[in-house]
């Protein structure tokens, strides 16, 4: 499939990232813009812009018809969906293909298959990839629950089949607690959802979030090792690393091989990520879901493998076979990404859109800053708060932390508060330095010692570690 012009169906820093990759491949780009985004960096860098609707994302970046129409009318022959928005929408991918355009991502049926958690879990099991132990479907009564819980292993999580978003979830540490909580949970689920159906799943109290990057061409797949993204706030990743320093070489090999098996089983095409929970205490890992798109934190993988993932996904979409064999891909050093967001860490992470009065960017050896910022830009309030990703790469994890801290010290964003002070405090924290973290660690750390209040323009002033 000959591709000459890519439609960027996204915004912000990832749009900039895709434009850069396209330009290096000699391709033109047309940037989708909502009414609020005419001035964004990606719109300035692209060869052309195409308006797709009002500021509100449901009427622009999430409007499938408007996006496909704009791609066609602007003479594009391919669409890159970025992350978020329509990137994992199988209907959108199909519409793009039916319009005669190349979708830079997996096949629509793969998006649908892996987007359905139950089907993805079945595929994982069929590929021999461990999943979180649990019941297959709803548990009929307490006697069955008791037997199943013994098989799964305590502590178990009791979940309402009709629940969602964390509602109706309870944790039983032993059989006595299960005997109390099971009927309670069933009654509550019936009252709340009109359905008392419950299922059980192993509760992993102290889990790390580990994910494996894969690339596939529809036939063959390779892994590009793993990332650890355990530092999260409200289920949003804050700080990401590659590789996961907690894994042994043997664990890493088993984990990454499992990801390749699943990617090849589903005929995966493009860049994708398999997310796992890793139980530090037992050394077990469990597949939870697959993200069928490029991810925010892809640069840490690029830094430690030297592979340009966005370029690779474009080439695969153009019909080229995977250019890499597994033995071509090696890990070199350690990389860390700090998400710099327009939020005030001293005011409970209040979102803080505004105008960038002045900007000093970090630089130097091993430092990369993928950002949407420029001096004078007004960050609109309508989209998420990510301003950029500061990435430090060095020979070792300790050196990468020191380099990240050095680069954070150089970053000055005047005019709006950012989360840079949070990252400086994290870089200085002994638990972060020793890697002794889990997915709830950051929230507990913030609750125990909220960050001191720096003034809005003082992102460059070191914050005393709490």
């Amino acid at each position: 499939m000959a591709v000459s012009t890519i439609f960027i169906a996204n915004r912000g820093e990832i749009a900039v990232r895709v434009i850069r990759a396209a330009r290096e491949l000699g391709l033109r780009t047309v940037q989708a813009v909502s009414a609020a985004d005419g001035d964004m960096l990606a719109a300035r860098l692209a060869d052309a812009v195409a308006p797709i609707g009002p500021a509100h994302a449901t009427k622009s970046y999430l409007n499938k018809e408007a996006v496909v129409r704009a791609a066609l009318e602007s003479g594009c022959d391919a669409v890159h969906p970025g992350y978020g928005f329509l990137s994992e929408n199988a209907d959108f991918a199909r519409m793009v293909e039916e319009a005669g355009l190349v979708f830079i991502g997996p096949k629509p049926e793969t998006i649908r298959q892996m987007g359905d958690k139950a089907r993805a879990r079945q595929e994982a099991q069929a590929a021999g990839v461990p999943t979180v132990p649990g019941t297959e479907g709803v548990v009929a009564d307490f006697d069955i629950a008791k037997a199943e819980a013994t098989r799964i292993g305590y502590p178990v999580m009791i979940k309402a089949a009709a629940g969602g978003g964390g509602r109706g979830i309870r944790v039983a540490r032993d059989e006595a607690e299960l005997a109390t909580l099971f009927p309670q949970a069933s009654g509550e689920a019936r009252a709340a959802f009109g359905d008392g159906g419950l299922y059980l799943e192993r509760f992993i109290g102290r889990a790390r979030h580990i994910e494996v990057q894969v690339l596939g061409d529809g036939k063959r797949a390779v892994h590009l090792f793993e990332r650890e993204c355990s530092l999260q706030r409200r289920r949003q990743k804050v700080w990401e690393e590659a590789p996961a320093a907690c894994l042994s070489e043997e664990q890493r090999a088993v984990l990454c091989a499992s990801a390749v098996r699943l990617a090849e089983r589903v005929g995966y095409r493009g860049a994708g990520t398999l997310e796992y929970l890793f139980d530090d205490e037992t050394g077990e890992f469990f597949f939870i879901e697959m993200n069928t798109r490029i991810q925010v934190e892809h640069p840490v993988t690029e830094m430690v493998t030297g592979v340009d993932l966005v370029r690779a996904m474009i080439r695969i979409a153009m019909g080229e076979p995977l250019a890499l064999a597994q033995e071509d891909i090696a890990l070199r050093g350690h990389a860390i990404e700090a998400r710099i967001c327009a939020e005030d860490p001293a005011a409970d992470f209040r979102p803080s859109p505004g105008t960038v009065a002045a900007l000093t960017l970090p630089g130097g050896f091993g430092v990369r800053f993928d950002t949407l910022l420029y001096a004078g830009y007004s960050v609109p309030p309508f989209y998420d708060s990510l301003l950029g990703k500061l990435i430090a790469h060095d020979e070792s994890r300790a050196a990468a932390i020191a380099r990240l801290d050095r680069a954070l010290g150089e970053l000055v964003v005047e005019g709006l508060p950012t989360t840079a002070p949070l990252h400086r405090a994290l870089a200085a924290d002994p638990a972060v330095q020793s890697g002794k973290v889990h997915t709830r660690w950051l929230e507990e750390w913030l609750a125990a010692a909220p960050l001191a209040a720096p003034s809005a323009a003082s992102a460059s002033i070191p914050v005393t570690a709490a």
Partner: protein, 78 residues
């Protein structure tokens, strides 16, 4: 005499708590101090627009899901 209430912050204005839910306030409704009149979404975080004055809501200046700037007229009270 009508008094115009302005948006306290920039973002997306919503008249209901969720799509399909009834609006917080209709034109002609009484508004008491402390009533929620709408929501403003700033970077995926929702802040209620809480009435600081009582009166009767005469008219909205913005539609549901409209982009608003801080200080832009939201609604009139009489």
């Amino acid at each position: 005499m009508a008094k115009t209430i302005q948006a306290p912050l920039p973002g997306t204005f919503y008249r209901a708590s969720a799509p399909g839910e009834p609006p917080f306030k209709l034109e002609g409704d009484a508004v008491a101090v402390g009533d929620t009149v709408g929501l403003i979404e700033v970077m995926k975080s929702f802040t209620p627009v809480v009435a600081e004055e009582a009166g009767m809501l005469i008219t909205f200046h913005v539609e549901n899901e409209d982009a608003v700037m801080a200080g832009q007229p939201l609604y009139d009270l009489a």
